[in-house]
Symmetry: D3
Subunit: 263 residues, 6 copies
């Protein structure tokens, strides 16, 4: 091994800021999901106090993570932790509604336990709602790490800044991309391979709205691509599979794909 290379690497290692380990972040996330959804937990608690102490144990991991990333926070790690805790009841409430909506809409779903324990769309959404809360509190890098955990496990990529309404259903989901400035209303349903992206990806566009808006009640079938910050899919529209949309469509639209010729 080249000596100068090793020496240079050592110096970079020596100077580098140390982030919390990915394993710690995953452990905390798993613990939090098990806390919020008894269906995911394999532990039995004999008393409420042991349950509370167990919760605190997981919270300590969150604190350590924030502490190690405090450089990028505008408030103290503890203030962030407390503010996050205050959001948990509403995060959970939204996710319970999501699970019920998935169950009501998918003919293959048997019961809520199945949805919560096996649907990648539910998992990705659960991680998103948590990452979105973390992002809103200023821990942006951590929120991205969280969304990438879900992306890695499900193939569903949702930027933590995306704003998603209630009772959102993702079916199958692999290949979905939902960009940073997307806004999604209530009761939207979406299938695998859908992209909600930007038309232009110039660096100058950072911090402008460059991804579409999806109004209430829209259904978007597999493989559809919807691009642009001014693109609005009007309420209750149905967007067919494999379509390509770069301008707004009015409410109640039906956008279909032309069938290929059969030779």
């Amino acid at each position: 091994m080249d000596d100068a290379f090793l020496q240079q690497l050592f110096e970079e290692h020596h100077r580098a800021r140390k982030l919390p380990s990915p394993r710690l972040i995953e452990d905390w996330l798993d613990g939090l999901l098990q806390f919020l959804f008894p269906e995911l937990s394999t532990l039995r608690f004999e008393s409420e106090q042991s349950f509370r102490l167990h919760y605190l144990t997981n919270d300590l991991k969150f604190y350590s993570i924030l502490d190690a990333m405090s450089e990028e926070l505008t408030e103290s790690p503890d203030a962030v932790r407390c503010a996050f805790e205050a959001l948990l009841p509403s995060v959970r409430g939204a996710l319970i509604e999501d699970a019920e909506a998935i169950l009501a809409g998918d003919p293959a779903a048997v019961n809520r336990v199945e949805v919560i324990t096996t649907y990648p769309g539910f998992y990705a959404l659960a991680v998103h709602r948590i990452a979105h809360a973390v992002h809103g509190l200023g821990a942006c890098l951590l929120s991205r790490m969280l969304s990438e955990i879900a992306h890695g496990k499900t193939g569903i990529e949702i930027h933590p800044a995306a704003d998603i309404g209630r009772r959102f259903c993702i079916d199958h989901g692999t290949g979905i991309v939902i960009g940073e400035t997307v806004r999604i209303g209530n009761d939207v349903k979406m299938y695998q391979g859908v992209t909600l992206g930007a038309l232009s990806v110039q660096k100058e566009m950072a911090r402008t709205k460059r991804h579409p808006t999806i109004e209430d009640g829209v259904v978007i079938y597999a493989g559809a691509t919807i691009l642009g910050g001014d693109t609005v899919i009007g309420a209750n529209s149905v967007i067919g599979g494999n379509t390509w949309i770069v301008k707004s469509v009015p409410p109640d639209s039906r956008i279909y794909y032309r069938e290929p010729r059969i030779d």
Copy 2:
């Protein structure tokens, strides 16, 4: 943390049925695959008896899993375990044929060891044939958990109830979705991003055939979408990439995609 929220969560945790841990299920599945395919096993066995004892050890995990989920079974955990064991020789036989077919059909494949150890399509199919056997014995939630393990690792989603013939080849595979009531014949080949889905997803359609039938010898290229319970792709047809099929095509069809214009 809000006290009422914690108390409510504790009560839900206290009442919740406890499922076997995901890690236990993955460990059993890994052990079973290593048992069936020596190429995947890193253990050396000095004698047949130590091999048998090792097999029993893994079987104990399966028993524990079934035991913890016995509420949803119609037969005793042990009856299910025995019936599953009886199916293993034919499951393995089918998978050996699948591996040979992949090797014969992919110019990049070097030998059977490479196929078994590195092809995500083979892995997803191996898990499917196991999950399908488990599903047939009534352990539906477990079968879904198994198929989601493969989905998470490969991006290939195959519902455990789907009925798949012999010598099935998946190449690349990311983004494939194969629905609950799909029927696939023998010698079918399929590329990444193919969807075999439902046309309508009304909850009332549960338990009806709502996904297509693919007859023997069909090839389906990347990104094709085939929908509907009455849609039959006739034997030996070739379905081109990115096509969109919602009605039946006769045997020996060639369905191509129109090229886009070049401006």
Copy 3:
């Protein structure tokens, strides 16, 4: 369990060549990435010597892996290890350029730490540049195992033999397939779901160029499919999303997708 089946399996296990465990390979790869990118490492080193010794520890894992797979090597495991080490400075140099290019081109990217720690496109490329070096030294099965680790985590499949130029940017990435004989120039950018594949997949075509060539400065949007060994995308072309390309296009082309009708 059927006795003859168990006995046959034992015999196959007994005869089988034992590969290194997947966990060992992943551990080595993780260690190597942490060594090359201080942003990924959670360890602090007090002195250069402890850093060097730590590097050697990881190198030992690589040696063990090569040793266990020496049957398929044309040189001694140690010769391969040394040759690989000599390539590391240039592998790292290329990856630093890739990270800078991603940062410069993506409006959502905040800084280099975020790119290196959270972008699946960067991870897949980092693993590819390592796997490509390993492949070039003759350890083909190992190189495939490495690329499948990245495929499993990111949904991005790059054959280790593919030849990729400098400053390559992948955004989102899920569903990308880059075939064995692909050649990609410098400053190419690519989105999710792009396929660079073969037109025909006859086994006889093994070892011929059957995947496309992408010249410098090309941008390929999401879902595009480009097929064929003679297909060349000329320099600085832009290939629109969801397009289907099976023949060459000249430099500076703009290929767009026709919008579907709105009924």
Copy 4:
């Protein structure tokens, strides 16, 4: 394996009360010692809150242990836990005095860190003062398990009920036995192999004082045996090595061993 034997064992296992695992008890004890003595802790805490949360994590283990053994408690697990916590400052205060006394009295001891991290006598005493507090709160079986952990590691056996004064010094210590009803004053020093035992071991003597009393300032050299519930070693006596004492000696006694003849 004999079937009837296996069946009988299964039935006993099925009926048996399950104690907390030895590993859990050791983990809690280690955590508590590290909490009380920073010299033993390898963790760094960035803030007081992370320290408190860490303490709570260990406390949860104690709670789980008490919960699993609640059958033998006369108060609720939580009441015991709280009462134990209230004792910790005085337990620690006594142990700091013990460490200082060992340091002051042993010519081989270099500093307090060495005493706390390497002296088995200090470790056994630390565990005893904790076990004694636990015993006093009614968790007798747990207190015995704790004292046996120290016994196994140091060869020093101190019954948790034994009443030991301040600034107690044990040097070397292997083979020391201190019985259930022993009373030891302040500033006592004791070497390896000393027994403070019972003269008679009839079962009827349970709960009577059957082990000796050692008054303030006594020194007992290696291998001395002192027996009987009425035996009192008067203050400031020196008991020589290998002596055998079964009746009281007045204060300031010097008891020596006769030298053997040299043939």
Copy 5:
């Protein structure tokens, strides 16, 4: 590091026979004790079959151990394993009697659970009865490894060849040494620091009886030393603490220690 030294060591390592790892042996021993004594087990078994499968799992470890040491066996590893299994009911029966005898004789013992879970004398005896069975089946090195596990944990050293009768009680126990050719009758009780050793330790005496015989009902107090192959302690004798015995004493003897003078 000296090169010749490293090279020589490598050659020795290369030639060396590999024994099973100490951790594997301890794991098996722990599993066996938990199987025999439900008081030591922290697992719950839902059905007899899961219990049997669990037993087999532990048995596999024993098989692996014997397999790795088969060079020193006169019979096949499996024949040894089967013969050992056939002895387990009587080993367990003897140990239940031992536990009852300890409980009946020690005023500090509260119940059988306490004896089995916390008495080092019981633990050492349990390991001895297992090691003695293993020794009788010809696995001498393994039997020594087992007895050293107990020695390390309790300070009680019992050679696996020693022949020990029923209802044997050890109290405290640290420092006890029981030699290879010792014979102990029924209902013997022994305290800490007792040595049953050889008078002469010439190598030529290997395989002759060189350690004492203790007849039924003898009590031996702490620190007594009894030496010689012809030395017989007659039935129901009481041997006082710290005594030194090198010739036989008749039944019903009382051997006391002279008290030292008080100056």
Copy 6:
């Protein structure tokens, strides 16, 4: 928990110097013993280089330990590490002689493998010779931690500063105490419970010779106590069991214990 107590503890934790973890020290020691004695190693090395790399891995642990304790060293951690390495061949040479001497002298010993893998006396001596080298290089606290690892496992306590000649045999060993300024010649043999201690333990005596000298060829039987810095046991003497020696004895002495009366 009392708030002031927690706050005070946190402050002490915050200020405390952090020592290397006991587990790291034990891991290094185990690795070193396995390196020196192939009989203790369970790893197979395919090539000399993989053996060397493995050795370096363990050496890294030693370096980390020294680095963390560098405050108490007079030379750089690396200088200490190198000097220690240079001593290893002679340490190993001495231990091989010790093992041969134990085998030659103990009628129960079967072969060298048994001595090295199961004799606590050999283990304690191996750790002592390593700790003595470490002590000689100025790492005093580390040397004490090493000797306490052996003390905890064997009940044999040897101060790392003690000076011990060649072919030293310990039989059984539990309860042996060998003080800081002891000097032992060649070919000495010693049994369990022997103390080589100080007559007076005034703190002022630190750094003076206060423990006995044992000349070549002496045998010391179980339980003997030999005290005092001026006490010299002349060459080839035999010291009987349970004796008490506080002044020198000439060469070739035979010191016996008076037998107790039989009443």
